[in-house]
Symmetry: C2
Subunit: 292 residues, 2 copies
Amino acid sequence: MLTQISAAACHGGTVLKLAHASPLLGCDMKLSVFLPAGAALRPSDAAVDAAARLPTLLFLSGLTCNEDNFITKACAVRTAARLGLVLVCPDTSPRGLGIAGEDDSWDFGTGAGFYVDATEPKWARYQMFSYITRELPALLQAQLPVDPLRMSIFGHSMGGHGALVCALRNPGTFKSVSAFAPISNPINCPWGHKAFGGYLGTDNKDAWKAYDATELTRGYSGPEVPVLVDQGAEDSFLKNGQLLPDNLVAAAASNPRMHLEYRLHKDYDHSYWFIQTFIDDHLEFHHKHLTA
Amino acid sequence: MLTQISAAACHGGTVLKLAHASPLLGCDMKLSVFLPAGAALRPSDAAVDAAARLPTLLFLSGLTCNEDNFITKACAVRTAARLGLVLVCPDTSPRGLGIAGEDDSWDFGTGAGFYVDATEPKWARYQMFSYITRELPALLQAQLPVDPLRMSIFGHSMGGHGALVCALRNPGTFKSVSAFAPISNPINCPWGHKAFGGYLGTDNKDAWKAYDATELTRGYSGPEVPVLVDQGAEDSFLKNGQLLPDNLVAAAASNPRMHLEYRLHKDYDHSYWFIQTFIDDHLEFHHKHLTA
């Protein structure tokens, strides 16, 4: 059950910090939510009127982030309020499980769940793929005016990878998907090798491919899903081979079911300064597909 | 001399983190700056072309803040870029002077300079009024395309007080002034008693009045300066008597030279969620007066 930590008026709606116990992850989890004017958190035993349910956008954050970064820094609330979109910003990993070494790396463990369901016994509680695609949506639909038939997903960096993977592995669940500077081909980059090796095992390359946006794009056979990807040309992680968007673009070009628009922006880096510059384009893109 | 710590593209312009040694304050100071498209930081020995100078807005932050809060959380860059405004966000106090007790309070000392020139010997380096109105503008004009004839000032809470005081004590310097939830009458609230008592001495009530926006408004005789004040009705600091905007409004009503618009907003609190909701109104207000 979602409980309210704080609430603040913003652009005619409300920014909420919420918490809940996660049986799946074995810890308490937090999330930030923006509800447009008139929408509210309700006790879970009260049915939310279907007519009041709103199109909803999930944002998955990147390495080291939590539920605060996007809602605080992306400047998304103004346009979400105007378009009547619910924004949901979950955390990036379980917290405080007490696993040895969980806080030792900024790119593995706490803050770095990589949106996979871990199979290595030590990290068995790291089930962020199922958290984002099953546990969290059920909670949202029970207490918030979230329309399960009108959901889209987007994210940044590790969260861009997560958004693409959640959408491509669940055909029909999300009306559209977009990403800022996604880790597009993790099976071929250092971050992916470390995360997938740790969570899925170093030898289980089939499991790695099942969480790789480029591989999933190449083999996708579900309903057509529109994809928008923005990338900064001065992004240091692009330059050092962590993001590999060209591989994603090539895979999409090879698959007639994929409609991917890729935009490379001169001068921009990997930061929220980049995200806030193009956030309105993403909100408008999703709104168009959520209300089509 | 201003040196660059970092730079990032944002909305076609650049967000800069800058630093400089402050002879006045006796420490290094940082600031955040947004420069619209085409503008740049230059070495101080190169003259900045007068024709390239842009209208400029100084934002003074509140208690506990530094140069990051406004530029990160207020969502001001998009509209500043569109209007061609330079944004300058200084820090709120000297840092690391080694004064006994400087870090003991969140509302006095570090992060709480209150934009006064301290007269108590222990705090003699706390010269934030002179920093904002003299030292910083000279640095900006030497290396940035800031137009000294087209400057306005605004701020939040302690910084709203600071903006009003800087404008009212320097008639003609700023084209317009605005504030979010300003400490409007510090000589009559607990924050003001603590700060003015500590920096100016407990018995020097004439010095207190010289830094009180309500007192300055009542006696203002300079050129007409437009003032915009926004306040959230659910602001806990309004409710517990720290802000006292009604006293400022009454003082303005008693002085025909003052043109103050005061807006009380149902539901809003003291946070940056409130600021970001109304930031575009403030940017448009200042732009109108800076380009009239």
